[in-house]
């Protein structure tokens, strides 16, 4: 986002674009990456409800469809909490 002059900003420090933090990608904080095995996944969505970074993609049918690496910080909670070991962590290779 380009830095604006004080004359252009909305008054009162108000942010008028809800949820625009999505533009800020936290994926590059990651040192480990979750790898999802769709074969093992039973779509219990525990990974979804325990993910701090809104990085578990769930479709309208309530099925887990993957991991949003734009935001995933690699905490590893999903892998730890998966009852079927359908997610494991790998060291991030950059």
């Amino acid at each position: 986002m380009a830095l604006s002059s004080w004359k252009e900003l909305p008054i009162g420090t108000i942010i008028t674009e809800p949820g625009n933090a999505r533009e800020f990608k936290t994926g590059d904080w990651r040192s480990q990456r979750p790898i999802w095995d769709s074969e093992k996944c039973i779509h219990c969505l525990f990974c979804f409800i325990y993910c701090p970074d809104s990085s578990i993609k769930v479709n309208e049918e309530g099925k887990m469809t993957g991991i949003d690496l734009d935001y995933c910080k690699g905490c590893g909670i999903c892998a730890e909490e998966c009852p079927k070991e359908a997610i494991h962590m790998e060291i991030e290779k950059r």
Binding site: M1, P18, A21, F24, K25, G62, G76
Partner: protein, 305 residues
């Protein structure tokens, strides 16, 4: 109880791109609350971790209306929002039903914001107050609060050679708020999302002030690996350090009874903040903590009848 599939529909009310630490329980708490509350919700935050990481100008992770005033004002500012809601609804300027929810850490709840919370609860505003309790002032670098447990090392209750960590047991917020006569008060844990989301639903359906104190493990301050957040939370309940219960109109109810005896030592051992207790000269503190936990558990059982 809603299913996780249903809860996933509100997944975007608190977005990714916030800057909480890896493995932080705070965003998990917010997500679980909002998944139940839905989009017709206004959030009032106190200054603290969740406020700082979620609204760094010009970005906001909030997809619902949000207000932050100061450290000690989550409840008092929300009192004003609620007053405006009442009057503007009467005047037909605001339509529909809105949930009003405060989010504050233990600093903003147990300590600096305690008076504001007490006043707001006494006045009977219709809102839910959620304390994401990480048991210290994490936002400023892990200083002790009145929610910090006995024996824990923090930067202002350091494990020194003479004083081994925090001397006092933590304050019991649920008891204090229950004593106000609030219609619904509960203690919860993010690892038990089913219990927590049910409590949030119940609180939102209750007229008047409701308070949920939810333990929110902090990998940085509690010193455990970031993938263990949910496990550390779960064990806090299993060892009875953090019982899941609710007080509805003065009536106590235990929501979960651990199946086997887990000594508190097992929970302490997972966390670096208690590492100094595992030496011969400090072992007695672990014993004292266990006694404290047992005492509180027995007292709770009595109240639950």
């Amino acid at each position: 109880m809603p299913s996780l599939k249903e809860l996933s529909k509100n997944a975007d009310l608190f977005t990714g791109g916030h800057r909480a630490c890896s493995g932080c329980a705070g965003p998990i708490v917010i997500k679980q609350v909002l998944s139940v509350a839905g989009p017709q919700t206004i959030a009032s935050l106190s200054t603290g971790c969740m406020e700082v990481v979620s609204t760094i100008y010009p970005y906001t992770a909030w997809n619902i209306p949000y207000i932050h005033v100061a450290f000690e004002t989550a409840a008092s500012a929300l009192s004003g929002v609620e007053a405006a809601y009442q009057v503007l609804r009467r005047k037909g300027k605001v339509k529909g039903k809105w949930n009003l929810i405060a989010f504050s850490g233990d600093g903003g709840t147990y300590d600096i914001g305690f008076q504001g919370l007490s006043g707001a609860v006494e006045r009977g505003h219709d809102f839910l107050y959620v304390c994401y309790n990480n048991e210290a002032y994490m936002n400023t670098g892990i200083q002790r609060s009145s929610a910090t447990p006995r024996g824990a090392h923090t930067t202002t209750s350091p494990a020194g050679t003479v004083i081994p960590g925090k001397k006092q047991f933590h304050k019991n917020l649920v008891e204090v708020i229950a004593a106000h006569g609030a219609p619904y008060v509960a203690q919860a844990i993010p690892s038990n999302w089913a219990d927590f989301t049910r409590k949030v639903r119940k609180a939102l359906d209750t007229e008047g002030p409701t308070v949920i104190d939810i333990l929110a493990p902090c990998p940085l301050g509690w010193r455990y690996p970031s993938n263990k957040t949910i496990e550390v939370a779960r064990l806090a309940v299993e060892c009875k350090f953090w019982p899941l219960y609710e007080v509805e109109n003065g009536k106590y109810k235990l929501n979960y009874r651990p199946r086997k005896e887990v000594p508190v030592e097992e929970w302490l051992r997972l966390q670096g903040r208690f590492a100094h207790l595992f030496t011969p000269e400090n072992e007695h503190i672990i014993k004292e903590i266990q006694e404290g936990v047992d005492r509180r558990w027995e007292s709770l059982l009595e109240k639950c009848g």
